[in-house]
């Protein structure tokens, strides 16, 4: 794996990211709506319980990362269709180099979103201890790593544009809804099937870890959260490298 190749691909992704301003701006809109309208609205209507907005903040943060990560990955279908990738695929760099370049590009993209949202949350929603920024960012890195990898796996294996809608309905929303971003997965009021699926959703552990460091409440031990994220990230990266190796040009 060549580092200069990884750097070249990463640099391209960052430049493209910065220049697609519409995409950058629009990707902030929905998390902010969720956070302030949905979170604020529910807290308001529940009345005394002002804690809901704080409770879902780590979840919304995760959602924002999830969306930008997976979409970044799936975006390579587009790249393949439009032949941007061809240039990279005929270059004398290995497919794992291409994978890691893309992975780092996507992680940077998602982390920029995440960090901005984290700051907004810190200013407007929950004043967690400053020292918590560091673990929060590390956990966000783990989440982006696994989710961008997942997106790249999907993007490398799918060949149609309709895939975008499928991914949204069958990957992103289920990952998000079952992750406990909006509810407490350890609550005894939860229907069993939701609980079971939630426990199988890797994102649950990301939300839980962020919740633990940001508002100090978690359903699972943080070590468990981190282990699940690391294992999931490794698995997705491994499959991603293999998928990139097999990837062929599509018309």
């Amino acid at each position: 794996m060549g580092l200069s190749g990884v750097y070249a691909i990463w640099l391209r992704e960052i430049k493209v990211f910065i220049r697609e301003k519409e995409r950058v701006i629009s990707s902030f809109v929905s998390p902010l709506l969720w956070l302030f309208i949905f979170g604020g609205g529910i807290s308001g209507s529940i009345g005394g319980e002002s804690g809901y907005q704080e409770f879902i903040f780590p979840g919304i943060l995760t959602m924002s990362i999830l969306f930008s990560s997976i979409f970044f990955g799936v975006y390579i279908i587009w790249d393949r269709k439009l032949d941007f990738l061809k240039e990279v695929l005929v270059a004398p760099v290995s497919r794992s180099t291409v994978f890691f370049g893309k992975l780092l590009g996507g992680m940077t993209d998602a982390m920029i979103h995440g960090i901005i949202l984290l700051l907004l949350g810190y200013i407007f929603i929950v004043q967690f201890p400053l020292i918590s920024f560091l673990p929060a960012i590390l956990i966000m890195l783990l989440i982006t790593w696994s989710m961008v990898s997942l997106g790249l796996v999907i993007g490398a294996n799918m060949s149609t544009q309709e895939g975008f809608g499928l991914v949204q309905n069958f990957v992103i929303w289920p990952l998000f809804f079952f992750s406990g971003a909006l509810f407490d997965v350890s609550s005894s009021n939860l229907p069993d099937f939701i609980k079971t699926i939630s426990h199988l959703d890797p994102l649950t552990y990301g939300v839980d870890a962020l919740r633990t460091v940001i508002i100090g409440e978690g359903a699972f031990p943080i070590l468990l959260d981190i282990s699940v994220l690391v294992v999931f990230g490794l698995v997705c990266s491994y499959i991603g490298i293999i998928s990139f190796g097999r990837m062929q040009q599509i018309k």
Binding site: S4, G5, Y7, L11, D83, K86, E87, V88, Q248
Partner: protein
Amino acid sequence: MIYRTISDYMFAIEIENLTKKFGDFTAVDSISLKIKRGEIFGLLGPNGAGKTTTISMLSTLIRPTSGIARVAGYDVLKDPLKVRQNIGIVFQEPSVDDLLTGRENLELHAMLYGMDRKEMNERIDEMLNLVELSDRADDLVRKYSGGMRRRLEIARGLLHTPKILFLDEPTLGLDPASRRTIWHYIETITKEKKITTILTTHYLEEADSLCDRIAIIDKGRIVVEGTSNELKSKIGEDIIRLTGSISISNLRRLKCVKKINSEPGKNHVDLVVEDAAKNLQKVLSIAGKVDSVEVRRVSLDDVFLHYTGRYIHEENGEDSIMNRIATYRSNR
């Protein structure tokens, strides 16, 4: 000798029974070719003949269904990375990055090919100059015209001075003046640096003057291969074009008429004849009502028509690349 090194392979490209199937459809059907080092080789064929698919297999972008292909001495299946180190390619379809500037596209390329900073900047300036994009180098490619994009892609394909260069319709969408400049440059640089070049083009007269050897490919098969002169002399020497109400059945009876080509909707016929000077009188005497006569030497167009049963229409090709660029823009 036990080890094969870069310098001792004989042929830049060796293909044996190379085949590519997409499902049941055979796009490339068991082709075999040997291309010598330093040669400019033209792959000509109508739309859908399998030219791009062949180039994609040779450049390791798609995997052959069966057969063997060696590029610069390396097997495309066993040593794809080695193959890629030795080639440069200009794709048929637009492949420069819209949201980067021209220079940034070239920088990305240079980094991917492991060029160092100094070499990179020198080469980039040199290439930008060559394709006359120096003053637009720092504009986003999004703002380029179709022809400017093409020139940028050609600069990119040559940037790292590859040993073997694939050009898939490199001058499609360019105006005649830029086409001449580009071909002139391609010819000079490839001869000077001994770059083996494989090109496809719809502009047959350009292929004729540029290529050392030519293969005509149709429906995935190579129908004929050789130097331009060999190909031409295979089908005859002269063409007589008759306009008017021509009696084709009468002409068929003449021995000296080797082939009669007529295009539907046109009132002229082309006759491939052995020796026009000697036989013209004979032809005219039985041809029916002739309004005008034109005699010329056989061209590559005639060879193409002879082997594929079709005329090659340049407009189509040009049209399609422009459409492609247009769709590609609106898709982003």
